[in-house]
């Protein structure tokens, strides 16, 4: 039985009066990669925001190692080892590349990831360490955002739309780095519009439709027809 890392149990999420998620449940095991796919507005980013503590939810809707963490503040969740790579990367523009990485590492959680290892994983960043973050290309910024998350030595990284706005060849480079991250025991949640890319990188997949889980299963076992049906409803 693999070690259960995060359990989401009947999670509801609201923006004011608007309900965005309805009883979403899922499980993530240590070092596992889980894909979450779905159309625009299906609730994928909302789900990540809840897990990261940016949106509040019921206390026992989220459990990390069996401990309820729902409703904790974002900085507390980060300290417990969940990192979010936000959609659109959102590096700190007035900081240099290296300062961005160091901000990620200021939690000082123990683990394998250091500045040196991040630079080994993404050598392009090492050469540009003293540039301001906005001077990087989109792909390099995404690498820096991944590095910034790794610097906290998280147990789970939530990746929101890693491929957004990037050329296919760059997306391939970025996804090529993910196995090295999982090799150290870090689990991944991959939220993507690009279904093929997401399913290739993950072992297990969930498909969200209008705030509910419409389909789940091993990533390799999902048929095109089943995904199409879960995407658009029947």
């Amino acid at each position: 039985m693999p070690e259960r890392l995060l359990e989401v149990d009947a999670l509801d999420a609201f923006y004011g009066d608007f309900q965005a998620l309805f009883g979403v449940s899922l499980r993530i095991e240590a070092a596992q990669a889980v894909a979450i796919i779905g159309a625009n507005g299906a609730g994928k980013s909302t789900l990540l925001k809840c897990i990261a503590g940016l949106l509040s939810c019921r206390r026992d809707a989220l459990k990390l190692d069996g401990q309820p963490i729902g409703g904790c503040l974002a900085h507390e969740i980060a300290a417990r080892g969940i990192a979010l790579i936000p959609e659109g990367r959102r590096l700190f523009p007035s900081l240099t590349v290296e300062e961005n990485l160091l901000i990620g590492g200021q939690l000082a959680r123990r683990g394998p990831w250091t500045l040196r290892r991040v630079y080994e994983l993404f050598p392009m960043l090492a050469a540009r360490r003293n540039l301001p973050a906005p001077a990087l290309s989109g792909g390099q910024q995404q690498m820096a955002a991944i590095g910034r998350a790794l610097m906290a030595n998280p147990r789970l990284i939530l990746c929101d739309e890693l491929s957004l706005g990037l050329a296919p060849i760059v997306v391939r480079d970025i996804y090529a780095a993910l196995p090295a991250i999982r090799a150290d025991g870090t689990a991944l949640v991959i939220v993507e519009q690009d279904i093929v890319q997401a399913l290739k990188a993950a072992q297990h997949a969930y498909c969200l439709q209008e705030g509910r889980i419409a389909l789940e299963g091993p990533a390799a076992g999902l048929t095109r027809e089943a995904i199409a049906a879960a995407y658009f409803g029947v």
Partner: protein, 289 residues
């Protein structure tokens, strides 16, 4: 001619004090977009705290500063954590209104406690000591010390902001507070630390204000205006620009005062308006990406 050199030298030295008024204001605005209307009154509060400390303990202004600076830092932390953090959000108006109210409370509280009589912090012989730099121009030791302290304060702030982990956290939080939280930074704590740092600078400014001139409880708002004008003239976000802004304001006031003592304040405000008209972004704005 010598008269005018003298005027400009004195104006430059006063400018250091104005830069200290402005530095804390600029820091807070830069990090959390909070316009602290009570900033001037907090300077006056620090001046009174220094006065009380010096009188009750029988110590000089510098020793009093060693007590007042940490005390103001604590007040700043508590003020931000308990009151001002609740006012922050997308809307700039709530913090403006709350700090305006705070300004009224501080002024009237001081008036109640210390009356409207003007006070001064005694510093001994240094108050009147001066040395000649050239024929007809002499520089007061006290104005020179306050100018050097202003440079030191700005250097330290610059160092903290750009060379320390705390400064990195300040800049990251200023850039994107939501993402900063994802990095494990507690905004409420970071903002409170920034306010604490700002009020430590306020304490230094307050003590030099108290030694250099008479002050009373209604003195705050005009110090706030000088601080604002220095920040705007220098350009938002640049601490060294703020020093330049303070100096320009000080020199303009000194020149106005030389022409006619009644024109001192007016000349400062006019210089500010001229800068706003021809260079509204200030002389050394820090351009944001």
């Amino acid at each position: 001619m010598v008269d005018w050199i003298n005027v400009i030298v004195q104006g430059v030295l006063v400018g250091g004090l104005y830069a200290m008024f402005a530095a804390g204001l600029s820091l807070i605005f830069g990090i959390m977009r909070l316009v602290n209307i009570a900033h001037g009154d907090l300077i006056v509060l620090a001046a009174y705290l220094a006065l009380v400390t010096a009188q009750t303990l029988g110590i000089g202004p510098i020793l009093a500063l060693l007590i007042v600076a940490p005390l103001m830092g604590l007040i700043g932390y508590a003020l931000q954590r308990l009151v001002l953090n609740r006012t922050l959000g997308d809307d700039l108006l709530p913090p403006l209104l709350v700090t305006f109210g705070l300004s009224v409370i501080i002024q009237n509280g001081l008036l109640e406690l210390f009356s409207a009589d003007s006070r001064r912090l005694q510093a001994g012989d240094i108050e009147v000591a001066s040395f000649p730099v050239m024929n007809g121009v002499s520089v007061g030791v006290l104005p020179l010390v306050s100018f050097l302290v202003a440079i030191a304060v700005i250097s330290v702030l610059q160092f903290v902001l750009y060379r320390t982990a705390l400064g990195r956290a300040f800049r990251a939080t200023a850039d994107d507070p939501a993402v900063a939280q994802l990095m494990g930074l507690d905004n409420r704590h970071i903002f409170a630390l920034a306010m604490a740092l700002s009020l430590v600078v306020v304490a230094v400014a307050g003590v030099f204000l108290a030694v250099r001139a008479n002050f009373d409880p209604t003195f705050g708002p005009s110090r706030l205006i000088f601080g604002f004008e220095s920040v705007i003239i220098g350009g938002l976000g640049s601490l060294w620009g703020t020093l330049a802004g303070g100096i320009l304001l000080g020199v303009a006031q000194a020149i106005g005062g030389k022409i006619d003592p009644g024109w001192q304040m007016l000349a400062g405000h006019l210089a500010f308006l001229v800068v706003l008209a021809i260079r509204p972004e200030g002389f050394f704005p820090k351009v944001r990406a």
